[in-house]
Amino acid sequence: MIAPDARPAADDRDDLDALADARLDGELSDAAWATLLAHHGDALTAALDRCRRVRTALATLPRPALPDHLRTRLLAQTSAPAPLAPAAALAPTVPVTAPPLRPVGGWRSWLPLTLAAGVAVAIALPFVIDGRIPGREPPSTRSGAPVGAPAVGDVVSAAKEAPPVRARSRLELEGAIDGRPDAVVAAAPPAAVLAKRTQEPLPGGAVVPSEPFAAAAPPQATKAADRPPSPTSAPVATALTTVPAPVPVPPPAQVQRPTKPAADAASAPPSPASPLPRPTSPMSPPVVQSAAAIPEPALADLAREAAAYRGRAGGVPAPAVSTVAGPVALGIAFASAPAARRTALRAAGGAAGDDAKAAASAPRVLAPGLSTAPTAASAAPLAGLPSAPPPVAARSAPATPSAAPKPAGDAAPAEAAVPPDPLILTVTLRNRTVAEQVLPPGSLRLVGLGADGSQRWATVLRAADTVRVPPGGDLVLRETVAAPPGDAVRLLVSLAGERSNVLDLP
């Protein structure tokens, strides 16, 4: 209770307002208020009116309705049906405000994140670049010997010596025939580990014995570079290298007749030079498949190809094309073929000519990721063949080096037949995987297609080379081959069921 004359000397206005508020709050009785009115007069009445107006103004301040969007948000945040347990029901509905991303722990928090991101990028980048999905590759086939351990029919002597390749360097590579350097992009093994070729002569046309091209291909001379003959070295059947030379006799188990039809390979020891598919995994190192573990599809492929060879332009279907992107992408294109070179080729009686002679005198230089080594065929003397086998023509006895192979079915002597102009092709191989791809000798094939798309002709490229394509690298091979028969109007490169683009012959 406030006495009417409790604070007569105070500030009039403030005191009167305070008395008025007390009156409005019901703290002053009617008697006390009457006494104050009698003491202060109209000033107290004005103060009471002033306070009442202010209170009215405060009480009538705007009361905006709850905005609809806010109501919607309120109901939406808690509209999820709550379970029976209140705590469990309410916990998920609480909006968790993420703390600002800041380096609370300094390097302790950022370093692991950075490392994890780097590892993730490093893992995913090759696949992004290659456009491949891991797991689409056939599983890596490990048969016989482990990786790096040579098995029967494997050509790993040079490869085993080869150190890891270095990517994106260029190194001159001698062509298999003409000695011209192949453009190699992506890997460069040191010169000390470059594969060495055998000095033994390589009979030509053995793999494509019945094709006109093989018959027309004159024997070539390719000297090995700088390695002494290996005890297991042997002539290698190739349509392009045919310099006779004495070779030691290998163990009988490794003997492989190059002219043996592929269909017979099912019952015979498989040749490592055969174009067998080499399943590889992008995440695992390639495995050089031993001869003892040739899968059935590969044998069937061999049989089909052998039938095609025997049929000789019989309109057999073209090589099967894998719809799944393989580990190596193939490409083929024309390169220039100088007329002078054609003359030299003819004069030398083969596709190599004096270029090959020049190449023979120089050390064999291989491209990074491309190593050549004596194949099993070269390591195994051919049974029944002379030590210096000449190129084998189609369905013909081994020809002499001086006699050009005649086209199959052509009764004219080889000397009378004018070899068609050789083709200089550029074959590109791109490794789509993150592992080095090893292409065994003989796996790379040049196929001629007829107008109807059927296979009319085929030959083996790099019959004596183990081609190694580094991870993610591109390998460009410059190949000089004799022109295919006339009924072949298109060319492509085939590798283990995959094939390159189709190149129309002029």
């Binding site: 009480a59 806010l70 509905t93 609480v94």
Partner: protein, 211 residues
């Protein structure tokens, strides 16, 4: 004891000014008279009961927070939303000893006072908002509008604690006991603080030439 939503529904209080009693997905009528029952239903997963609580107290809380935030509608919306969310999340902590709105306001003010003490609210012209009551004559109405605008400006310039207690008392019409409950103060402390807040408001109004 918290009633189960499947138990016998509480009787609907006749004459309740609240909106008509809605029904939950189970077809049961919801008792709007007792906040404790509504809270219990919300605990049991009845979303409709929660909607009733929002409709019952959302407008009031938002208006209070709007004036507490010196007319910053955005802040008021955030405070309102956060208060309801926190209330929903901590509904099991509601003991029922005080009213749900008192508890809700306490949740709201704890956050609002903490933020408003550091952040100056963005001025908002509340003159565009319609007053809650305007039954005076046209001449008196103009005078009231001017006074109301001056009061709003003066209120926005008050310290946050003075602003709060005046809003609670004059705008929300809470009595001393309720204010003491909300602010967790003694009633005598509430009176003294309220007197100081009023005096400060009067000074501000006098500075503007208002009564």
């Amino acid at each position: 004891m918290v009633p189960s939503p499947h138990s016998a529904p509480a009787p609907v209080v006749a004459g309740n000014p609240a909106p008509a009693a809605p029904s939950n997905p189970h077809g049961e009528s919801i008792d709007l008279a007792d906040d404790a029952i509504l809270v219990a239903r919300v605990r049991s997963g009845d979303g409709t009961a929660y909607a009733v609580l929002v409709d019952r107290y959302g407008h009031r809380l938002h208006a209070m927070l709007l004036h507490l935030a010196a007319g910053d509608a955005e802040l008021a919306g955030e405070f309102t939303q956060e208060a309801f969310v926190r209330a929903f999340a901590n509904l099991d902590q509601f003991a029922g000893r005080s009213g749900f709105y008192t508890w809700l306001w306490r949740l709201a003010r704890n956050r609002a006072i903490d933020l408003l003490a550091r952040k100056r609210p963005q001025a908002t012209d509340l003159s565009t908002l319609q007053p809650s009551s305007n039954a005076a004559a046209p001449g008196a109405r103009l005078e009231q509008d001017e006074l109301r605008a001056g009061v709003q400006r003066a209120l926005a310039r008050l310290p946050i604690d003075s602003r709060e207690i005046i809003v609670l008392r004059e705008f929300d019409q809470l009595d001393y006991a309720e204010i003491a409950d909300v602010l967790d103060l003694a009633e005598g402390t509430v009176k003294s603080r309220l007197n100081r807040a009023r005096a400060a408001l009067r000074e501000l109004l006098a500075a503007e030439g208002l009564p």
